[in-house]
């Protein structure tokens, strides 16, 4: 695979590497990465911008404009932190490429030119996007059966809007091996953003399963940003200075052990409890955390406090990886519309119930009936999230947000619903407000289709570019 060396020459290897994650999802605060590069030492800054729904949105953007389809937030971030990155030689790894890593690279090179930063290398990882290869791959024997339901892809084939393979960490290590300061990828595993630089720095090999698993666990702990430093934490009253919460840093060693920490003086907490919270996030079978690089065992390791805001993780065990990559596809799956009104007391809940009855009845009288699974009624403020949970029922709330929604394959039926909500202000019970958003509009439902593809069908490709030079 590698035309260039994957790792640093052995005599230039470090015995400690600092890898931070400054972005847990597209929409996360820009202050996370800005403060990570400004407020303490760092070797690598990783940034995660992709979710399943993002890939589909990006495909649509690219279809309209060939120079779009990537996370534009990333370009703004580079513009803001570039001087620090260069001054401190911090390397950046971001999956901001979305479905168009080349266009993202062009935009980043423009920023570099504007700053007069010459000779900065930007590498891209491609090969994950298989939307245009689906038919070819199916002819070659890939069934792309749904991993959850077993259904064949034929059921949705003509509605597929994106298809991306989750690549592993080795292409990222290869990209760093070219001397790139900025690595832009498309779809890959989230923990791979952290594992990649560790492979590059420490020379870990594809059969070194325990250490690959250690880097994967490290990546999982930091992949949601502040969720391991006190964000979204059960005992939230314990967490100091959440406004200035520190984003996580992995201090990694060649033997696979690592410390989770954050910059000194930042808010939040790193202790065994905040780290375990993130280990439990998105957990499936803890003994088998499957990535393209390794199968990590989340029941294998030990956590131990290592001073203030430091947790040491050691003894991670891994097993051989599987023969397949996971492919995530998205497809058009109908339409939906949701609207809400605020209903004030007295008797807010009873009036909100009356309002919802009126809406569904008026729609039915005009020939628009929605099956129970096609519609939703929520009384926000009167125990929606914990519906049916004993001891949590609020008897008489001061106000209730009435939230109604419908969905289905027919856009017109969904739009019709949206016209029947606001009229309640004048033709329902008193105390109805909160309609400033206007009529609910139909939006597209995007379905997800997880499947597998044999690894030999997929080739990751690394290309490298340099600022201040004509593009080859």
């Amino acid at each position: 695979m590698a035309a260039v060396p994957l790792d640093r020459p052995a005599d230039r290897r470090r015995d400690r590497v600092l890898v931070a994650n400054g972005q847990g999802f597209w929409g996360d605060s820009i202050l996370g990465p800005v403060r990570l590069v400004e407020e303490g030492p760092l070797d690598y800054l990783t940034l995660d911008y992709l979710a399943e729904v993002t890939m589909s949105i990006m495909q649509k953007l690219r279809a309209r404009r060939p120079d779009m389809g990537y996370a534009t937030d990333f370009v703004r971030l580079v513009d803001r932190i570039l001087p620090r990155l260069v001054e401190r030689d911090v390397k950046v790894i971001a999956n901001a490429g979305g479905v168009n890593p080349r266009a993202c690279k062009d935009a980043v090179l423009e920023v570099l030119e504007r700053h007069g930063a010459r000779g900065v290398k930007v590498a891209i990882v491609e090969g994950d996007d298989v939307l245009d290869r689906l038919d070819e791959l199916m002819e070659a024997g890939e069934t792309f059966a749904n991993m959850d339901t077993g259904e064949p892809l034929a059921a949705v084939r003509d509605r597929v809007t994106s298809a991306n393979v989750y690549l592993g960490a080795f292409p990222i290590a290869e990209a760093l091996g070219t001397g790139a300061q900025i690595v832009i990828t498309g779809r890959g595993t989230d923990p791979g953003l952290v594992l990649g630089p560790l492979i590059h720095e420490f020379g870990w090999t594809p059969d070194d399963w325990d250490r690959l698993a250690a880097g994967t666990v490290a990546g999982h702990i930091v992949e949601c940003g502040a969720q391991c430093t006190g964000g979204n934490y059960t005992d939230w009253r314990r967490v100091p200075d959440m406004a200035r919460i520190g984003y996580p840093i992995v201090e990694a060693s060649p033997d696979g052990s690592f410390v989770v920490t954050k910059h000194e003086g930042t808010g939040g907490i790193v202790d065994e409890s905040t780290v375990v919270h993130q280990l439990a996030y998105e957990m499936g079978d803890p003994e088998n955390y499957v990535t393209p690089d390794v199968v990590a065992d989340f029941t294998s390791f030990r956590l131990a406090g290592d001073g203030a805001n430091r947790v040491r993780v050691s003894g991670v065990a891994g097993k051989a990886p599987t023969q397949t990559y996971k492919v995530s596809m998205s497809y058009h799956d109908g339409w939906k519309a949701v609207g809400q009104l605020t209903v004030c007391g007295p008797e807010a809940l009873d009036k909100a119930r009356l309002c919802s009855d009126i809406v569904w009845e008026r729609l039915a009288s005009d020939g628009f009936e929605y099956a129970p699974e096609e519609r939703l009624t929520e009384f926000l403020g009167a125990n929606v999230c914990h519906a049916g949970i004993r001891a949590a029922d609020a008897a008489d709330p001061p106000e209730v947000v009435l939230r109604l929604g419908v969905k289905g394959p027919d856009r017109e039926r969904v739009e019709r619903f949206g016209m029947e909500l606001v009229p309640l202000v004048t033709s329902g019970p008193p105390g109805v407000t909160g309609f400033a958003g206007g009529r609910p509009k139909a939006t597209e439902i995007i379905g997800f289709w997880p499947a597998l593809v044999r690894k030999e069908q997929i080739q990751a490709r690394v290309s490298v570019f340099e600022s201040g030079r004509p593009v080859a």
């Binding site: 399943e52 729904v53 959850d148 969720q227 979204n232 934490y233 059960t234 005992d235 409890s273 375990v276 919270h277 993130q278 280990l279 439990a280 996030y281 998105e282 957990m283 499936g284 079978d285 803890p286 003994e287 989340f298 029941t299 294998s300 390791f301 030990r302 956590l303 799956d333 109908g334 939906k336 949701v338 519609r375 939703l376 929520e378 926000l380 929606v384 999230c385 914990h386 519906a387 049916g388 949970i389 004993r390 001891a391 949590a392 939230r403 929604g405 419908v406 969905k407 597209e444 439902i445 995007i446 379905g447 997800f448 997880p450």
Partner: protein
């Protein structure tokens, strides 16, 4: 024995997992973990979430970090983009489970620090 909420002896985090959600329950002490391993069965969790989850419940254990992980198989009203619910990603399911009331032996309470 005292009747307390699960939050007295455990913490939790939850999120989406396809068309379902996972709830990781983190015991606040070794004794609380042993007690919960015995009592916090998939059946109890299925009963607790009966109006939220229309699928089954599977349980996994990670003894090293004192986590019981529950997979609620159909708890998001369609999941991802197809859900009409406010909590389409199961972010609040952890707090929902922490509201569960349990009869907990005094010895477990004494050896489990209050939050």
């Amino acid at each position: 024995m005292s009747r307390v909420r699960l939050s007295r002896i455990a913490q939790a985090r939850s999120g989406d997992k396809g068309e379902g959600s996972n709830v990781g329950v983190i015991a606040r002490s070794a004794s609380a973990y042993e007690f919960l391993k015995e009592t916090l069965t998939p059946e109890v969790v299925e009963w607790h979430f009966e109006r939220i989850n229309s699928g089954g419940v599977r349980r996994y254990a990670a003894d090293n970090v004192r986590v019981l992980n529950f997979l609620l198989e159909d708890s998001l009203g369609g999941g991802g983009s197809a859900s009409l619910r406010t909590d389409a990603q199961g972010k609040t399911h952890g707090l929902a489970l922490l509201r569960l009331e349990l009869e907990v032996p005094d010895a477990v309470l004494e050896s489990t620090p209050e939050p």
